[in-house]
């Protein structure tokens, strides 16, 4: 799962070092278009439904946080 996520992220923004970054939202690295593209990718890839409430900086500031979100949403079903 982690590999797939990294693939999607790097495909979206090849210029960003997703392994290292922890301020993706707060630092303005990912903008709202990136978010939306990312969310639709994640939704279709991992069969989850990320909704607006989940778009907190804390869920998207790092690749690790995103992974946690995906796991949580998959569990909730």
């Amino acid at each position: 799962m982690e590999e797939k996520l990294m693939e999607i992220l790097n495909d979206l923004r090849p210029d960003v070092e997703f392994e290292k970054e922890t301020e993706l939202i707060d630092g303005g690295i990912l903008d709202s278009f990136d978010i939306v593209s990312l969310v639709s990718e994640l939704n279709s890839e991992f069969d989850i439904e990320i909704n607006v409430l989940d778009l907190e900086p804390k869920n998207f500031n790092s690749a690790k946080a995103m992974l946690e979100l995906i796991v949580k949403l998959q569990e909730e079903g």
């Binding site: 709202s32 978010i35 969310v39 279709s44 607006v52 409430l53």
Partner: protein, 532 residues
């Protein structure tokens, strides 16, 4: 009551005095009363609308809170007996209930806003259509007035209700305090559009007098006055001359008019924001910033993240994300991918959502076709830039351009400034037709001689005025660059010795008092965003 007026300065003094004298428990009441007094001063007949919105928003919040509580209680008590499916169904019902309540509130308040603001525009267009179809009946125009700040507080209220719906925080249980959140006077005229979780507690908590904080707030107010009186109102003379007599001018002169308006609206709006933030800071309240050196933006999308930040933020959280992440858009996305392939298909729904968002931003500014055109202009360019992103990257690698160099950044800033400025034709010109005319005629003639043949001296400004405008631009540039590097100017100045500080403050005061455009013979141009 205009911000830039002696009455307002006196008003602030009274408010601050009352606030600091009042014991802690009653401080927020001072803010509430003075906010309503301020509102009554400007628009007491239309106060009813603010009251309606405040009341309905508050009640909706309470109702949503009740629904959530009831459901949680129900599930908690019946944890054992309810199966997973039943829990899900119950949650669904809860969401439906909440949706209905929110919809009711939004329809009512948005309805009021749309009616008061757009009725005549819509009526006019319907009449045109009817006329074309050969009909005789005409919808009469109504003499409608806009309550002060309705475009701002309505959005603020909707944001609050949606946040409660999303269970971001608990609803407010004190109507009087909530009324303060909705009416706080520094932001009622032209924002910033506040978020409840950021602003409300600040308003309700008492803040003691703090000399340094008060001094810094006063300095910020002075800075706002400087931007408005020295720069904005001065360039306005030139802008008015060109836009009111657009037929007489062409080419570069029209573009200069647009550039002038870019400067004017920045000085006016951000100056007003500084005054609002300065007043709030004196009272110990931190308002959200609305401007972050927008003309340093390197792309139009970045521009909209630095200009009128709270509006963009509101649109993002309550329009763009909900739209683009909604189920229907998801479905649309899948269909597009099938038809247009992966690359474009992925981006199309985002474009649509973004286009809709910018159209709303445009329309929010005013009821006229020119604002719709404004939305198109911004939406169109930003879409194009997203589509062409990979193309641009390829180009820059081929041309061996260093995208991190100062030179390239500078070019991007100039390009963005030009794009934003061209859009200004639509926000300043009287009608869409005039805007298009001016836009096109900017390009139909190339007349650089107007810069030196004396034309500039016939636009209402004298040589000394141009000098002052350039001085202000320079000051803004220097301040902007310093702040972009993270320097907090008021703090660093406060650390200098007293002679330097007083020289600076007195200098700034007299700079505004002497060169400001105010007093008999000059009419302080009303804040451009006030009639929203």
């Amino acid at each position: 009551m205009a911000f830039v007026s002696v009455e307002f300065l006196i008003f602030i003094c009274i408010v601050c005095l009352a606030y600091f004298i009042m014991p802690a428990k009653g401080k927020w009441v001072v803010l509430l009363i003075t906010s309503y007094v301020f509102y009554a001063f400007s628009s007491w007949k239309l106060l009813i609308f603010l009251l309606i919105t405040t009341a309905t928003t508050f009640l909706t919040g309470m109702q949503l809170g009740k629904i959530s509580k009831n459901t949680k209680a129900y599930i908690a008590t019946n944890k054992e007996t309810l199966g997973r499916e039943e829990k899900k169904l119950d949650r669904e019902k809860q969401i439906q209930k909440k949706r209905r309540v929110v919809l009711l509130m939004v329809l009512l308040n948005l309805g009021i806003l749309i009616f008061l603001k757009y009725f005549n525009f819509l009526a006019g267009n319907v009449n045109k259509l009817l006329g074309m179809a050969g009909g005789e009946t005409q919808i009469p125009f109504l003499s409608l007035f806009l309550p002060l700040g309705i475009s701002f507080y309505t959005l603020q209220a909707i944001g609050y209700v949606v946040d409660i719906y999303r269970e971001k925080y608990e609803p407010d249980t004190n109507l009087a305090q909530f009324a303060l959140f909705m009416s706080f006077f520094p932001q009622i005229i032209q924002g910033p559009i506040a978020r409840y979780d950021h602003l409300a507690h600040q308003l309700y908590e008492p803040h003691a007098f703090d000399y340094d904080r008060v001094a810094k707030g006063a300095q910020l107010i002075l800075w706002g006055f400087m931007k408005k009186l020295v720069l904005a109102d001065r360039v306005a003379i030139l802008v008015n001359q060109i836009f009111d007599n657009y037929m007489q001018y062409e080419g570069l002169v029209l573009f200069i008019g647009a550039i002038g308006y870019s400067l004017q609206i920045y000085g006016d709006f951000s100056g007003g924001m500084d005054i609002a933030r300065g007043v709030s800071q004196i009272l110990g309240i931190d308002l959200a910033i609305n401007f972050d050196h927008p003309y340093f933006s390197r792309s139009l999308s970045e521009f909209w993240r630095r200009w009128h930040i709270t509006l963009g933020g509101w649109m993002k959280d309550y329009v763009f994300y909900p739209l683009s992440l909604s189920k229907s858009f998801n479905k649309l996305g899948k269909k597009c991918r099938k038809i247009f392939g992966n690359y474009i298909g992925k981006k199309l729904p985002t474009f649509l959502a973004m286009f809709i968002t910018f159209m709303l931003v445009g329309v929010w500014h005013g009821s006229s076709w020119k604002y719709i055109a404004y939305g198109f202009w911004n939406g169109g360019i930003i879409s194009a830039s997203i589509l062409l992103e990979s193309f641009y990257t390829k180009c820059s690698t081929v041309c061996k351009i260093d995208v991190e160099s100062y030179g390239w950044k500078f070019i991007q800033m100039v390009r963005t400034f030009i794009l934003a400025t061209l859009g200004r034709f639509f926000s300043r010109a009287l009608t869409c037709q005039i805007a298009l005319y001016m836009f096109l005629h900017t390009f139909t003639s190339f007349n650089p001689w107007v810069l030196t043949d004396g034309t500039l001296m016939e636009l209402g400004l004298k040589g000394v005025d141009y000098v002052l405008i350039f001085v202000m631009i320079l000051i803004l540039l220097v301040v902007g660059i310093l702040q972009e590097r993270g320097i907090h100017l008021r703090d660093s100045i406060a650390q200098q010795n007293i002679l330097f500080r007083w020289f600076l403050y007195l200098g700034a005061l007299f700079f505004v008092l002497l060169t400001g455009i105010y007093g008999p013979g000059y009419s302080a141009t009303e804040f451009i965003y006030q009639q929203f």
